[in-house]
Symmetry: D2
Subunit: 141 residues, 4 copies
């Protein structure tokens, strides 16, 4: 496991498994979204409050590499780094590992933007400032 | 809209929308999976029967470009083409359009393989034969 | 099958099945909600528009009798009747049947109310008028 | 809060909220199921292993009283007691409370049975023994 800005331990719930007995493909996007929102909250930004103010954080592209399936009972870790990709886009690099042996389950690159009250792309001030600092940190590595 | 080997009309259900009032990101993977399974059934292969026989069709990579969000009440179309990418991999190119004005909602490339009863990648015979023919058809276009 | 004010044909999607190979318990509530919202729309009331106006239709009690499980590939019918139960409550009687042989899958009684912009129970005018007429119709049967 | 045989702390994930900004009705059944399966695992019985052996624990009736909605960010507790109702049926009494102020969110009574490899109701031996002891404990209270 590499260095992550944020780590969220989770575990599979049985209703998330499909008839193959493994976690359904779409559910990983739920896990990843939950980790992103928890991270944003941890650094002082709330998806819900933005939504209530008419500012919508949205995904514009998702890339997911499924390496190994999660099963009922599995405990896992979602690791996350966030970087600015361009003026209006930011990227979450997210990996999912099994807790017990750190086996890689999934790698994802989720590209997002924010839409203002008029539905136009515009990064809100606080997120903008945060991304500038993060960018610095990441450059420094 | 380009030519598709398969088209599935669907409509948004209210429980698929999240607090932003739009269809949640992960739900598009449900739509895409449903269209793939309906297509496979239409050409004589059943995800469920494969699963019962211990043959698991699995996604190894998903790329989704979110162009415009679906909302409550929207009727949409999932268009699909399937091509062989390599000996052990096949790809579904899937687009989602609004029914009324053909506005593009989402473009996806879903790469899959099949795992045999021993969990090893192996395309089952019928799918293998089908992909050979499809490949021909697609080359001919 | 008895008489229903509204009937909605649907079919199982594979991602709705869990590791037992049958539709997960919670998914029936999705089916039932979808049928209720489609019914309300058909008689001129939209859950989404109410929500946008700050009027929330909410479930206060759900009773579900699971008679027989739905499986992958099953086509089914949701039948629905709506009656007023009291000044502030209305009830949906909803049954799910297999399409092919009319086998009963599930019986449900869903009790709802509406909350106004202040979060207080209050049936909106149009729904109130509709329920008065419906009540008459049902008494007449 | 009364005495529970099992308590599970959980928290709302944003994707579980619908366009009303509150947790969707069906999602509570997910929470309740997850708590039941965690409880069974804690006392030595695994839903997944039963399913793999062809023994299916199934819900035959669900009654849910929705008292107050959960929202994004809410932390809550699922409390659970299990009692035998008859030779072939057992009941889970499940309550959901807000963690911070113990406000009651939902009360549920979930009635279940088990189906053996032939699809006939039959409580597996270990669960049968467990329910006998539990019954005693509950009578003693």
């Amino acid at each position: 496991m590499q260095n992550y800005a944020f780590i969220l331990p989770m575990s599979v719930r049985d209703y998330e498994c499909d008839m193959q007995g493994i976690v359904n493909n779409s559910v990983y996007q739920n896990y990843l979204e939950h980790a992103r929102h928890e991270y944003l909250k941890a650094v002082g930004m709330d998806f819900k409050i933005y939504a209530q103010e008419g500012v919508n954080l949205v995904v514009v592209r998702a890339e997911l590499d499924y390496k190994y399936p999660l099963e009922s009972g599995d405990r896992f870790i979602v690791g996350l780094n966030m970087v600015r990709e361009s003026r209006l886009k930011f990227v979450f690099y997210q990996d999912i590992f099994l807790e017990k042996d750190k086996k890689l389950i999934l790698k994802a690159k989720i590209t997002g933007t924010a839409l203002n009250q008029h539905g136009r792309p515009e990064i809100p001030e606080k997120l903008d400032a945060f991304l500038q600092n993060e960018a610095t940190v990441f450059t420094a590595k």
